[in-house]
């Protein structure tokens, strides 16, 4: 097949490959080993296919590529419209990169209802990719809601003690948040006759939507609420620690690395894309909430006795950076926000894998149960260190680049935002390194920890790609930013107009 042909259907292939695999998996007999291998093959194949996207991506070009646009339902006018730009491209890749690792990390830890687990995981992957590739608002909402069920089931069936509570809380928070988005989408359809993102954006920009000025603020809030719950932005964050602590490792990984990014991606694509003026007007309180999230998340993380909860609150803090960067409306801030999204995906994903590995051996996440683990588990300790440093923002690793860019963007927007945000980096070093010290250094305080085994082959295969990615992203961020930059520039174009309009008044 020629590459041109492939390019026109590649997004469909990448999106639905895992779903097809999941459906096939339903037909396979319950032989756990075969099921694991099959799931791994499907997810790896998806990853390989998704590599087509960056390889043939025209980096200098803004706008959507690999587009496919077919009518799905004629009235209402719903299209199967997919495409990626420099923003969504990397999020798709992040998803396809992490899913095989999730399969690997669950190889040994899931031994009951193996078939259901991998079916749900693969269905979840399709829904996640679909969220990032949809350019039709209806299709977007469709995939957005579709992520809920597999994730809630993963938490509720395969989780720990309070799994049911966590699953329902996760489901209800997200569900109630997103119905407001549905109402906003319906309003937009009623007044433009289209669900197409590009069409609606252009109509709004040219002022051709009747009654828009009166409704714009509510529409902005409708979208924003759905995304803020997902991010989660302070004060909507309380579902996150519960969901993370109770979720199985693979669930936590995808939850932190990809599901949360759906929220920030949504803000960037839809809030900024469709409502630039309202974004501008609301930026002050959004940024304030983001700052509260950064600092509050970090402080709460610091005092957590539970490793997984600590990582969960660190996500609240890191995602605060992303929102801060997005609502700074600067080139650097947005570039940085996207980079933090990717870096946080890799490093926090890896942190959850590492925490899961420990839980498998000791059946606890309590930090006080550990101590001096560096001597029985040297390889584990070294890998953990790399990831912790990446997450804390050490230069040459991936966390640094994004946070630096975000802060420089925040400074450009308003110095005080930058100053307050910068404290977040200090806090993150404090809680992560302190945790590392308590778990790995010193003498072995609990004798049972002496006999804990080091990383197994499967675990190495899951962790090391993350560590390598963290390093490459830290050394050569241009590989990613090259595609991100033009897309962000295009996303910011309406803001230049908003400014000139404001000045003109």
């Amino acid at each position: 097949m020629r590459t041109d042909d492939l390019s026109s259907i590649i997004l469909t292939l990448v999106t639905f490959m895992p779903l097809a695999g999941g459906l096939l998996l339903m037909l396979l007999p319950r032989r756990d080993r075969d099921i694991r291998i099959f799931a791994l093959v499907v997810s790896l194949l998806t990853f390989v296919l998704s590599l087509h996207l960056p390889v043939y991506f025209h980096r200098a070009r803004a706008g959507f590529q690999y587009e496919i646009d077919r009518q799905w339902v004629s009235t209402p006018n719903i299209h199967y419209h997919m495409g990626v730009d420099g923003i969504s491209l990397w999020l798709v890749l992040l998803t396809t990169f992490l899913t095989p690792l999730c399969v690997l990390i669950s190889w040994k830890s899931i031994h009951e209802r193996v078939k259901e687990f991998f079916i749900l995981l693969l269905i979840l992957e399709t829904a996640l990719i679909g969220v990032f590739t949809s350019l039709d608002l209806f299709l977007f909402y469709f995939f957005w809601e579709a992520t809920l069920i597999p994730m809630a089931l993963l938490i509720g069936i395969f989780g720990h003690e309070r799994k049911v509570y966590a699953a329902i809380k996760f489901f209800m928070y997200t569900m109630i948040g997103s119905v407001f988005m549905l109402a906003a989408i319906l309003w937009l359809y009623a007044h433009t006759g289209s669900f197409d993102f590009v069409t609606i954006r252009d109509r709004i920009a040219s002022g051709a939507v009747p009654k828009f000025p009166a409704a714009a603020q509510l529409l902005f809030l409708g979208f924003f609420l759905a995304f803020a719950v997902k991010v989660p932005l302070f004060p909507f964050h309380t579902w996150l620690p519960d969901a993370h602590v109770e979720a199985p490792t693979a669930g936590s990984v995808l939850l932190a690395a990809v599901l949360l990014k759906m929220g920030t991606y949504g803000m960037l694509r839809f809030n900024l894309g469709l409502f630039p003026e309202q974004s501008r007007q609301n930026a002050w309180w959004v940024m304030t909430l983001a700052l509260i999230g950064i600092i509050y998340g970090a402080l709460v993380a610091m005092v957590q006795p539970n490793m997984k909860k600590l990582i969960a609150y660190s996500s609240v803090s890191h995602l605060g950076f992303v929102v801060l960067g997005i609502f700074s409306f600067t080139q650097a801030g947005l570039n940085g926000a996207l980079f933090v999204m990717l870096a946080h995906g890799i490093s926090t994903g890896a942190l959850f894998m590492l925490a899961g590995i420990l839980h498998e051996r000791r059946h606890t996440y309590e930090i006080s149960e550990f101590g001096g683990l560096a001597s029985p588990m040297p390889v584990y300790a070294a890998s953990y260190l790399v990831i912790v440093l990446a997450s804390a923002g050490l230069p040459l690793l991936n966390g640094f680049i994004g946070e630096f860019l975000v802060l420089s963007g925040a400074f450009q927007a308003k110095a005080v935002y930058g100053i307050l945000g910068a404290t977040g980096i200090i806090w993150s070093a404090v809680y992560l390194l302190w945790m590392y010290q308590r778990v790995f250094y010193g003498k072995v305080t609990h004798p049972v920890n002496n006999s804990v085994s080091d990383l197994s082959g499967f675990e190495k295969m899951a962790i090391w790609p993350c560590a390598a990615a963290a390093l490459v992203m830290g050394v050569a961020p241009i590989l990613w930013l090259g595609a991100i930059d033009p897309a962000v520039r295009a996303a910011l174009r309406p803001f230049a107009q908003v400014v000139s309009k404001l000045v003109g008044q």
């Binding site: 569900m175 109630i176 407001f180």
Partner: protein, 519 residues
């Protein structure tokens, strides 16, 4: 009620001479062919019942009834070929009535299929069970094609009386007798309201033909009597569709009635009553009706969902859920005629598919004497019978309104119609409700998948007939969720016909502007 029917007879007698005295044409009979066929099969079942052995005769009777519904579907095809008026403007065959005929007859077929096993397990031996289902469908079919208020009333009574009897078929259970009696008493009260409304409407406009009423009301100032009449009509129909504040009977009746019949009652008569309501609401286009429906929709959604949150009996839970769904449907009625009609039609179809499926599983699982109907009984079902649990999960997800299922598009179209009519607040009440409503459906899923069974609940293998019924429901739910286009387009076509006829002079956009100006 006896007084009611004789009154109706008198009314017909008073204005019958106004119509042409010629005999009905052959085409007239084609236009009620499904009703004729179904009544015929119902009578065959009744006649054969005493001749067959009580223990072994149930199966053949059920099969005859099933063949009857299939023949009814075939007859609907012939009916669809002959659109137009019949029997002196009393019956109208259009796409709208064809759609509802197909829907209610298909519902009856699925209910009959899922009753075979239920009847055997519950040791209910009565052929009239199947006959009553068929007669009920005759009434419902007629409700959807009648455009004459008196005929609508008669059809409503045919459908209601068979439902009353069917609700009491678990004769040995006190709950079933209670259910039947409660349904009967409150139901007759509600139909009396309806009849009173018909009489007042006759007094206000001098006609019981919907088209003529519409013409009279549009031509001159609307008399106060017409408002009262519409209010009475709404009370009667609101009871039938279990819309708040006329919903109080629902949980008790659903709890006591046989489970397959609950599936039937919550879908087919409701669809028919909604059809009547659609004709009345859009034809008698009074502004006051809009607010009545607005309030009723908001109340139904809220009370239904809040009530369902605390239920432990699955049948009661689904009863409250059906109140909430009636509320979502009423949202469509408050919206613009054309979009609202098609959204409501799609909703009845999707709701029928998912709710029938859910009740089929509930009735299979409940076992002899309907012993296992509490939430706790569903614990660990995901492990003990994964296929049954997965099927029920599909129906529940559809009831929540998750993508890929018919329930999603149903809600989507309804709210879309509401936003189009600028009913922002009603939409927000609706979407928040559908978010809250997710909780109690989720509870069943949680029980099945995330809890271990604490007690032994025997699950018998699914018999052939039931699996066919379930397969039909699953296929319909998924089909409506993935390829909603064809059904929706048909609904839109029929809505266009209906509305164009109903509002001959006003352009389609006029009601929208009147609605939006009040908000």
């Amino acid at each position: 009620m006896i007084a009611g029917t004789s009154m109706a007879g008198m009314m017909i007698a008073t204005f019958a001479p106004a119509f042409s005295p010629t005999l009905p044409l052959g085409a007239d009979y084609v236009r009620i062919l499904p009703e004729i066929v179904l009544s015929g099969f119902g009578m065959i079942v009744m006649l054969l019942e005493p001749l067959l052995d009580e223990a072994t005769g149930q199966k053949p009777l059920g099969r005859i009834a099933l063949v009857g519904t299939l023949a009814g579907l075939a007859a609907t095809w012939f009916m669809a070929q002959a659109p137009g008026l019949a029997f002196w403007n009393m019956v109208q065959v259009d796409k709208f009535s064809v759609f509802l005929h197909v829907l209610v007859i298909a519902i009856a077929a699925v209910v009959i299929l899922s009753s075979y096993e239920y009847m055997a397990v519950q040791r209910i031996r009565a052929g009239e069970y199947y006959a009553l289902i068929l007669f009920g469908v005759v009434g419902m079919g007629l409700m959807s094609s009648a455009i004459e208020l008196v005929l609508i009333f008669i059809a409503l009574e045919i459908s209601s009386i068979s439902s009353y009897v069917l609700a009491g078929f678990r004769r040995h259970e006190a709950a079933s007798a209670e259910s039947s009696l409660k349904y009967f008493l409150l139901g007759s009260f509600a139909t009396a309201f309806f009849l009173y409304g018909v009489a007042l409407m006759f007094g206000a406009t001098g006609s019981t033909n919907i088209g003529q009423i519409s013409g009279t009301l549009q031509a001159s100032a609307v008399p106060l009597l017409a408002y009262v009449a519409v209010a009475f009509l709404f009370v009667g129909l609101g009871f039938k569709v279990a819309a708040a504040p006329f919903h109080v009977w629902t949980p008790d009746v659903y709890e006591g009635a046989p489970a397959p019949i609950v599936g039937f009652m919550s879908t087919a008569p409701k669809a028919a009553a909604f059809a009547v309501l659609l004709r009345i609401v859009f034809v008698i286009n009074l502004h006051a009706v809009f607010w009545v429906i607005w309030v009723s929709a908001a109340l139904s959604m809220t009370l239904g969902n809040v009530g369902a949150l605390v239920q432990n009996n699955v049948k009661r839970l689904l009863a409250y859920s059906s109140i909430a769904h009636a509320g979502y449907l009423l949202v469509a009625f408050a919206a613009a005629p054309q979009l609202g009609t098609s959204a409501a039609m799609f909703y009845t179809a999707a709701y029928a598919a998912m709710n029938l499926g859910a009740f089929a599983i509930v009735s299979h699982f409940s076992n002899a004497g309907e012993r296992y109907v509490t939430l706790e009984d569903y614990e660990g079902l995901g492990r003990s019978s994964p296929l049954l649990a997965a099927t029920l999960t599909i129906f529940l997800l559809s009831l929540i309104g998750i993508p890929m299922t018919g329930g999603f598009f149903a809600k989507f179209y309804v709210f879309s119609a509401a936003v189009n009519a600028n009913l922002i607040w009603l939409t927000i009440i609706g979407v928040v409700n559908s978010g809250v409503g997710a909780y109690y459906y989720l509870r069943i899923i949680v029980m099945m998948y995330m809890r271990e069974a604490r007690k032994e609940v025997p699950v018998t293998p699914i018999p052939g007939a039931l699996s066919v019924a379930l397969a039909v429901c699953v296929a319909a739910t998924l089909y409506l969720g993935i390829f909603p286009g064809s059904v929706l387009e048909y609904a839109q076509d029929s809505a266009q016909q209906l509305v164009r006829r109903a509002l001959p002079k006003t352009p389609a956009s006029a009601p929208v502007s009147t609605v939006s100006s009040t908000l």
